[in-house]
């Protein structure tokens, strides 16, 4: 019975070693880790029972992350620390569980809570720190930021500016930006689109395989309309 299950949220990283594993394969790998860890995961009812395990949002193939989230439900209680230890002993190379928190019964699901995510884009060499420094503010001062976005049926010019919440120059030796963007089921913006728009703005050709992307964190809204991390903001026990 779902109501008797114990709910937990976890935060994890996905490193270089595992970034080429797509979302569906990653889920299977995670499910197997749970089995190996002998964690008393709860299953859905029905003909093909599946583990009650959900991720906030898929991470694109090739992206790394230092702030991804998921929820899981257990049949029997385990302490958050115990779950963290057992999972970490069984995770694929490149995945680390940073934090586990036990949730109150009426906590909202991680997918529905998610409303924003922050990313770092490390650009290909042509986009130098200097270019970023000189252009990033002007870029955001545009009335609209138009990119060609794929919809279900065709390509469409879309203004992504409303979905960019924050953007900053994060360059070291390499040209980098950090951006906080809308995420989730209602509005969702991929950092690739931001990178593409920026490169277009500075007159460079965008190649989707040349930049590197890292998800930094994922957020929900707090009572005051601000953003807070998916564990920090959730109702815990």
């Amino acid at each position: 019975m779902t109501n008797d299950n114990f709910k937990y949220r976890f935060k994890f990283t996905k490193g270089e070693e595992i970034k080429f594993i797509g979302h569906l394969d990653f889920m299977v790998a995670f499910q197997r880790a749970i089995k190996r860890a002998d964690i008393p995961i709860a299953y859905s009812n029905g003909f093909n029972p599946h583990q009650l395990l959900n991720f906030a949002s898929p991470l694109s193939l090739g992206y790394t992350s230092i702030g991804d989230y998921g929820d899981l439900q257990l049949q029997n209680w385990l302490s958050a620390d115990e779950i963290k230890t057992r999972l970490n002993e069984n995770m694929p190379i490149g995945v680390k569980i940073l934090e586990v928190a036990e949730l109150s019964k009426n906590a909202k699901k991680v997918m529905t809570s998610l409303c924003a995510a922050s990313y770092e884009v490390k650009f290909e060499e042509a986009v130098t720190p200097k270019i970023i420094e000189e252009n990033i503010d002007k870029f955001m001062l545009q009335d609209e930021i138009i990119v060609l976005k794929k919809t279900k049926r065709n390509l469409k010019d879309t203004d992504i500016k409303p979905d960019i919440l924050e953007i900053e120059n994060a360059s070291d030796k390499a040209g980098k930006i950090k951006a906080k963007v809308n995420a989730g089921s209602v509005k969702n913006l991929k950092p690739e689109s931001v990178a593409e728009a920026f490169m277009k703005y500075v007159g460079l050709e965008f190649n989707k395989n040349k930049n590197r992307y890292t998800r930094l964190d994922m957020y929900m809204s707090d009572q005051n309309g601000g953003l807070v991390g998916l564990i920090d903001g959730v109702e815990k026990i």
Binding site: I18, F20, I21, V28, R32, R36, N209
Partner: protein
């Protein structure tokens, strides 16, 4: 993490995960701190190779040695190969991502004949000269094993040594000596000569082959005093005592078989006359029930898989098969783990077991009938009757199964059109069995998926002397079966006929055909086992260019006294026995299986297994 292939190229490839490694239970060692580096190469794509049990066993077997680092290497898929060549990235091993050219051993497992161009292609991609004669002291030792190694001749010019038999027996000795020789600074040649001391290892350079004017082999003669006249395979006597990994590599992407594999026994008691595996792996050696339960438990625990596959040549021939299957089912039922039985014989089928399996998961059932008439089934010694087949299917339908797969073969020795029409009739009868069930008990329609492969005569079988059909024959026969099926519930397909023809040449080829294999590779052949990549016209050109007649190898009936290309190899089964079996086949006489009666095939010499059971 160091990657042999830059991210940009990986992102542009079909499945980058094929080239990364880092799977669950992967072995990582410091490559600087080991004495021996061994590249275990599987000459096919990652997803196929990772589903191979032999790889899983040898990987951990070799890596249990502290001094040895065994890493895996698969054939890159077409898209990646192109990019590797463009960017001068040599073939590398997954674990360390380092080029295999610098390894001590490069080992290939040969599971099917149509992988030979991939072997060549992988050597080339690695920057290792393809022909043995062109390699130097700096190149790795190329070693090949697997079922195709029993006729090593087609690729003998490319390979330094063939390992005939089960890897657990000799590898420790081979590696110990290699390590010692390497320390002493001895040459590769000295090492290979030292290997002549062992039975089970074949170094082609120590044997010369001469030919008669009619193209047949005159003699295969050792040219080194230490080289034995006949090399006999080596096998494990007691499977309960031999190493079996407690873990299994668990890939991070979907592969052909995502499951735990438990090997019940090696060998097969049956002796179906077309089946090479049934002869080359003799005798049957079983693992004890307790051993298997223990292995299943630890593998499930360490993998997180949700399926256990009980594999062997004929799973249900395991002596305590029902106890084992029920035992496993009970043990794992509450853990959402299912059991799969890939090779059931239709006659031993039990409704009880079937229903138990079905409780956990329902899949389609596969039955190998092989031939359409009793006469032909007797010729091939497939000891099942039409009643066995029909009853088995009926049980399956009553148990609620909606899909039955049937396997047949086209072109078996002595086959007539009547036998082929028999395939169609048998399939129709299976459907009729379904309609015998009262209407209220069959709410949904069924399908019978019948598929036919084309018979390829294989070395070390009673049909090793027989002529194979041409691909034109196969096509006609396939159509004949198709045209005679009346029931719409039956779907009939047959295997690529040209592929089977080529397989026929390779399977019984001698040293001379290596030139054609090399030429085919030059013409761009690779992944020949993949229907959409297979290009028969290129192969025809390769054989034409090298002046080799394919039909000499495939479509010719040999006499018993002809010297066969593999006559210097023994799998333990005597030629005398194979001749007797062929004669019996011609008379449609069956031979009892090893448990009913020992037929003195010769495999008793290995000193273990079913040969010593009380009957």
């Amino acid at each position: 993490m160091y990657k042999a292939i830059p991210d940009e190229i990986l992102l542009d490839s079909e499945k980058p995960a094929r080239y990364i490694g880092n799977e669950i239970n992967v072995v990582k060692k410091d490559s600087e701190k080991v004495d021996i580096r061994f590249a275990f190469c599987f000459p096919d794509v990652y997803e196929v190779g990772m589903s191979h049990l032999g790889l899983q066993i040898l990987y951990y077997f070799l890596n249990r040695r502290e001094d040895t680092y065994c890493e895996r290497c698969f054939a890159p898929w077409i898209d990646m190969e192109e990019k590797m060549r463009q960017n001068n990235i040599p073939l590398f091993a997954l674990e360390s991502q380092q080029p295999i050219k610098n390894f001590d051993f490069v080992g290939f497992t040969l599971q099917y004949e149509l992988c030979y161009t991939n072997v060549i292609n992988m050597l080339d991609l690695a920057g290792i000269p393809i022909y043995r004669k062109d390699r130097t002291e700096d190149d790795p030792i190329i070693i090949c094993g697997g079922s195709c190694a029993y006729n090593p001749e087609p690729i003998a010019d490319f390979v330094d040594m063939f390992y005939l038999g089960e890897g657990e027996v000799l590898y420790d000795k081979i590696l110990d000596i290699y390590k010692q020789y390497k320390k002493e600074g001895r040459s590769k040649q000295e090492f290979l000569e030292r290997m002549l001391d062992f039975d089970g290892l074949y170094m082609p350079q120590f044997y010369d082959v001469t030919y008669k004017e009619n193209g047949q082999i005159d003699a295969i003669t050792p040219n080194n005093p230490k080289a034995r006249k006949v090399i006999t395979k080596v096998i494990v006597k007691d499977l309960d005592k031999v190493f079996y990994p407690e873990k299994q590599l668990v890939p991070l992407i979907e592969v052909v078989h995502d499951r735990v594999t438990v090997e019940l026994f090696r060998g097969c008691i049956r002796g179906c006359r077309f089946c090479q595996a049934g002869f080359v792996y003799r005798p049957v050696r079983e693992k004890r029930f307790e051993t298997l339960l223990k292995q299943a438990e630890s593998l499930v625990k360490s993998s997180g898989h949700d399926e256990i596959s009980l594999i062997s040549l004929a799973t249900s021939d395991y002596t305590c098969f029902h106890e084992l299957a029920s035992g496993l089912l009970d043990e794992f039922k509450n853990k959402e783990i299912s059991i799969s039985l890939p090779s059931l014989r239709v006659d031993s089928f039990s409704l009880d077991l079937m229903q138990k399996i079905q409780e956990v998961r329902k899949s389609s059932l596969t039955f190998a009938a092989e031939a359409g008439t009793q006469r032909l089934r007797d010729v091939i010694n497939k000891n099942i009757t039409e009643d066995d087949i029909l009853n088995g299917c009926k049980l399956a339908f009553e148990g609620g199964w909606l899909k039955v797969k049937m396997y047949f073969m086209l072109g078996l020795p002595t086959e007539t059109d009547e036998d082929l029409i028999g395939i169609a009739q048998l399939c129709d009868k299976i459907v009729e069995k379904f309609f015998e069930i009262p209407k209220e008990d069959r709410p949904r329609p069924i399908t019978v998926n019948a598929s036919a492969s084309c018979f390829v005569p294989k070395p070390f079988t009673p049909f090793q002397w027989d002529a194979q059909d041409t691909y034109e024959d196969f096509s006609r026969k396939g159509q004949l079966v198709k045209n005679n099926i009346k029931r719409k519930q039956v779907r009939f397909t047959y295997h690529n006929t040209m592929m089977s023809s080529l397989e026929g040449v390779m399977a019984r080829g001698d040293r001379r055909i290596s030139a054609a294999i090399y030429r085919a590779w030059q013409l761009g052949c690779k992944y020949d086992g993949w229907t959409d990549l297979f290009d028969y016209s290129k192969w025809q050109k390769a054989f034409n260019d090298t002046g080799i007649d394919m039909s000499f190898y495939a479509n010719r009936l040999r006499s018993y006294d002809e010297v066969l290309p593999w006559d210097h190899i023994s799998v333990g089964v005597s030629k005398k026995f194979l001749i007797e079996e062929r004669e019996k086949a011609m008379r449609a006489e069956v031979t009892p299986n090893c448990r009913q009666k020992c037929s003195n095939c010769g495999a008793k010499r290995f000193g273990g297994g079913v040969c010593f059971d009380e009957r």
